[in-house]
């Protein structure tokens, strides 16, 4: 078996990578309505969210303008002559999240107990709010019970300015420093903030995921810019480098599946329009990166993701302003796995992966929401990249999976979420029956998930 310069088996690295990827991808968005924003603005969670973390028009604008809008007391001094100004929140923008959950799969995973309590599943601290004039943050650190430690989670620190004009129309622009492609985005149709909004970290999940679909979350650092023109056109771009949490610095690359060579550009273009009861967004986003698995020199794997997305929110005045949301995204990934092929981790160089996700959600006021989602992944079969293994592997080397996600959330208060979720698989890692070659069917991984979440 081929090894890297440092003696690591690339096959092992890939196996690890593909074991971890589904956890990252299906762990879903790790962020929520953050109470410190509420304390800063004097507004309820429902002012920014249909249901957390789904942003409404006000929430999008709040984020676009750098999380800085405040109505509460500040320590402030105006700029004068050659003296700088000051603007500090009197209340420190700190929040806490606590998740506890129960997960059960249709069939137990071999040699493990079925029906798992996690107390907690996760607990997060947020530094989320205005840092000063034009600068604010969404910054999260999370304790994960399985890893038994705190680690850095989604982060978006931004500078924003709403005083621009272009062609006589208002223009908001800013910069973002973040650690997850699409975490800067304003809509819930892109991966970082997409459906499902809560998810378990116990049940098996499909092996294949596009790089922009969570594979790089909290494993990169990026600096980018964004702008919204005339409340219609949103353009954003970020350049990313690998930043392995827990890894040594300078980065030797060993033990990590993605080591970005040079920089990886991410782009986003979206157009939105609205009437009193309708909000529509259509857009495109994508990313290109070259990476050396487990190393920082030598052959490279290349990935290019092209994606399209849409979101439509319809307010229903005749039903007490309930909101019906439709969202979807399609991601086409083309990859050239020269390094992986050379190291025996891929059977062919050229790959593609198609990911389609769509969901519809009905919000009964701010108290209840019910959602149905469908997902479908297809792509190039590769018996080395998607190797056979019990439960997590594929007997035919195919990345194809599809299924549905049902979610019901009840919010007795706006900061307490009681959710029940069911994930059903029609096909898992290439087949509906005996997908892993060890006799396990796709439906065996169907899971029921109960969650209680407090944020304060």
């Amino acid at each position: 078996m081929l090894r890297t310069e440092c003696g690591y088996s690339l096959g092992r690295i890939f196996l690890k990578l593909f074991a971890i990827l589904p956890l990252v991808v299906l762990a879903g968005p790790c962020a929520y309505a953050v109470p410190s924003y509420s304390r800063q603005t004097g507004l309820s969670c429902a002012s920014c969210h249909y249901a957390p973390p789904e942003l409404n028009a006000f929430g999008r604008k709040f984020k676009l303008e750098g999380y800085t809008f405040a109505t509460k007391p500040e320590v402030s001094e105006d700029e004068k002559d050659h003296n700088s100004g000051l603007r500090l929140l009197e209340a420190f923008p700190l929040s806490v999240l606590f998740d506890t959950s129960f997960t059960s799969t249709k069939s137990p995973q071999p040699t493990t107990q079925n029906g798992n309590f996690e107390f907690p599943q996760a607990a997060s601290l947020f530094l989320a709010g205005s840092w000063g004039n034009h600068v604010g943050s969404f910054l999260q650190v999370t304790y994960d019970s399985q890893a038994d430690h705190f680690t850095w989670d989604n982060t978006d620190i931004r500078y924003a300015n709403n005083s621009g004009h272009l062609f006589g129309k208002p223009l908001t622009f800013g910069t973002t420093f973040n650690n997850n492609p699409t975490v800067e985005d304003l809509w819930n149709s892109t991966p970082a903030w997409g459906y499902p909004f809560v998810s378990n970290n116990v049940a098996p999940s499909p092996s294949a995921a596009a790089i922009i679909n969570g594979s790089l979350a909290q494993d990169v650092a990026g600096l980018g810019g964004y702008t919204m023109w005339n409340d219609h056109l949103y353009v954003a771009g970020t350049l990313y480098r690998s930043e392995h949490i827990g890894g040594t610095q300078p980065n030797p690359g060993t033990g990590f599946g993605f080591n970005i060579r040079g920089v990886a550009p991410y782009w986003r273009l979206a157009w939105q329009t609205s009437t009193q009861n309708n909000n529509l967004e259509i857009g495109t986003y994508g990313m290109h990166l070259k990476s050396s698995p487990g190393a920082i020199t030598g052959p490279e794997d290349g990935y290019t993701d092209w994606a399209a997305d849409f979101q439509y929110d319809r307010m229903l005045p005749q039903l007490k302003n309930d909101v019906l949301s439709f969202r979807g995204t399609y991601i086409r990934e083309n990859s050239s796995l020269v390094a992986s092929f050379g190291n025996g981790a891929a059977a062919v160089v050229g790959h593609h992966l198609n990911t389609a996700q769509a969901n519809v959600e009905y919000h009964f006021g701010t108290r209840l929401s019910g959602a149905v989602g469908y997902f479908n992944v297809t792509g190039t079969a590769d018996p080395l990249l998607f190797a056979q293994a019990p439960v997590s592997g594929s007997a035919n080397g195919s990345p194809a999976s599809n299924g549905y996600l049902l979610n019901l959330s009840w919010w007795p208060q706006q900061n307490i979420d009681l959710a029940v979720q069911y994930t059903g698989y029609l096909r898992f890692n290439g087949a509906g029956t005996n997908y892993d070659g060890a006799g396990r069917n796709a439906g065996a991984n169907n899971s029921t998930y109960l969650l209680v979440r407090f944020v304060f």
Binding site: T41, G42, L43, S47, N56, A57, F58, R60, K61, F62, E65, F69, A70, T71, K72, P73, E74, N161, N162, S163, G164, H165, L166, P170, L171, F173, T175, G224, G225, T227, D231, V235, G237, L239, G262, V263, P265, W267, Q272, S274, T275, Q276, N279, H288, K290, M315
Partner: protein, 112 residues
């Protein structure tokens, strides 16, 4: 690839320069700054409330007769104490800023 990345970075930098420079040249009064920082989010740049946020929240058109017919004291009270979905700004803004803001709102119909 390196060329693409450099062009991408240059593009971002150019955009930022284009965007930042005009905004710097666009001098604003104190009242305009207060309005930008606190009111634009819902009421739009021109006071119309025609932004997605304004439409969703049914924000008042500050240029309308309904708003302009209020006395200065009434407008100041709404800003200070809030009303309906509009939050109170009395804890954040100084009375002097609120007075300037009311004057700025009076100017909005003339700007259209």
């Amino acid at each position: 690839m390196r060329g693409i990345v450099l062009r991408f970075a240059l593009g971002i930098l150019t955009c930022l320069v284009i965007l930042v420079v005009p905004s710097r040249l666009h001098a604003q009064s104190d009242a305009a700054k207060v309005y930008k920082a606190n009111c634009v989010l819902c009421h739009s740049d021109d006071g119309s409330g025609s932004s997605p946020t304004g439409k969703a929240l049914k924000a008042r058109d500050l240029r309308s007769d309904e708003v302009q017919s209020r006395t200065d004291a009434e407008l100041a009270e709404v800003i200070t104490k809030g009303r309906g979905k509009m939050p109170a700004f009395g804890a954040k803004l100084k009375p002097d800023d609120i007075t300037k803001l009311v004057a700025y709102v009076r100017e909005l119909p003339k700007k259209t």
